[in-house]
Symmetry: C2
Subunit: 295 residues, 2 copies
């Protein structure tokens, strides 16, 4: 196992343990709700956002323990967004990570409440992070809420994405949608780690450039996999984007040009890191990992 | 206009102005999302929870300005819960406050995202409340998140309520569901105001007893109105609870006994206030207002 693979394995173990401690047990009433939360959170997610929090934090010298709740909270927000996105009124997905989606397993009403609860829990977890100074906690809550909300964050991107179905969009509109829907929370994850590590404004700007490119890279890779990978491999229904006439990079630019754009984004992300005097190996390897993923 | 009516009018004006400032304008993209947020927030709500924040805060000497964002944030959480409760997969309501519900007006996908956004905004607003010390902000966020979440809060109560449809419940089970679904956020509203006003532990306990009774009183009054008031007056479809075989006080105890219980709760709420040396007129009148409401 390479040092980077060891890092990813450690993140998964630590974040999963933290999530397990923070989420009410499956035996706590109302059981179906907490079972559904656990079903969705422990469904084999790749923990990309927690890895970004922890990598960015460690680059700036933060203690791993001081990053854990923030990493868990951002993963909760990500999971809530997937649960709601999968609902019949939204993307209407039956499978996610090779398992039935939350509403297929627990019913639509419980899935709505499960997503709602994961959002609430995320902010509860950030507010009660005793290891961080309260002024740092409110800064992180503000950062994360803006990245998850509207007009600049995830919910705005999701609304624009739904409104764009079937429309021919310009390239910059596709970038805006993806930048908000996927990129904003990924950027916030990296920024949150760097803030906990004590990064200054100039350093945060470099991390922001890195993370915005990673966010788009992540989405473009996702879009390419939707076109090129079989359902069994990616664990969700392949070809859904085209069927729903979604605005994606491959549908707009074609697969080849999309692959070139992904390579450019990877290069830009890495060159932003070079402006920092820190050892940014973790972040660079994470960018390469995102670019080369197969599911 | 009595002094108390003037207080309620002032709360409505001030809270509505604050909400208007905090919510993205209807012209901000994505417009349909922000229009839907505004449609739901400015739909003629009674602003009971903001009134509780402000009344409890003023009783303990808080400046009205220092209470406004907390009042607005709690109203946002309340509104998000109504939007999601009204969805077809939940209570499936077409009308709310005499107008089409959010999903009837804007579609189901937008309604889901509108509720999601109001929850995000509530925590953003609390985190960015520059008038309060950060340690106070994280305390309020924690309080409000627990009241809105699970296992002790609103989402837990909603899940239990859905699971209980068609079942014969014991009286204490009905009280638990209502205590969580409606009571928890109402209790948090009063506690938040008192905390901002600097109330000590003993004072918070008295406010807690008052608010728990107010919360149940609010719900029992709602249930009685659902049975006895015509649709045009209450602004939502009357008789929905019985049609859905909901667990309510009138269905369990009958209307007469429910009215007696409401009177007992009002008396208990007021007697909790008598343990305080403060001028609690505002809170007492608010309790009477809730008990005697006709819609």
């Amino acid at each position: 196992m390479s040092a980077f693979e060891e890092f990813l394995a450690r993140v998964r173990t630590d974040v999963d343990r933290c999530l397990d401690e923070l989420i009410p047990s499956a035996g706590t009433e109302p059981r179906s709700l907490h079972e559904a939360v656990r079903w969705s959170v422990f469904a084999g997610g790749k923990r990309v956002r927690p890895a970004l929090v922890i990598a960015a934090g460690e680059v700036f010298g933060a203690e791993p323990d001081s990053l854990m709740r923030t990493a868990a909270a951002i993963e909760m927000l990500h999971t809530y967004s997937l649960i709601h996105d999968d609902l019949p009124a939204m993307d209407d997905d039956d499978m996610r990570r090779g398992k039935p989606t939350c509403h297929r397993q627990f019913g639509e009403a419980t899935a709505i409440l499960t997503g709602d609860l994961l959002q609430t829990l995320a902010f509860e977890v950030l507010a009660e992070d005793e290891g961080l100074d309260p002024s740092l906690r409110v800064r992180l809550i503000s950062l994360v809420a803006r990245a998850a909300g509207s007009p600049a964050g995830m919910i705005a991107g999701q609304q624009l994405d739904l409104a764009a179905e079937g429309l021919a969009l310009a390239g910059d509109e596709i970038e805006r949608i993806h930048g908000q829907k996927t990129g904003a929370l990924i950027t916030a994850a990296a920024a949150a780690g760097a803030i906990i590590g004590g990064a200054d404004e100039g350093e945060l700007e470099a991390i922001g450039t890195y993370a915005r490119n990673i966010g788009l890279l992540f989405q473009i890779t996702d879009d390419i996999l939707d076109v090129t990978a079989p359902t069994a491999l990616i664990g969700k229904t392949a070809g859904k984007d085209a069927a729903a006439a979604k605005a994606t990079y491959p549908s707009h630019y074609g697969v080849e040009r999309s692959r070139e754009m992904a390579a450019d984004m990877l290069a830009e992300a890495c060159s932003a890191l070079e402006t920092l005097p820190h050892n940014t190996t973790l972040l660079r390897e994470l960018a390469h990992e995102i670019a080369s993923r197969r599911r």
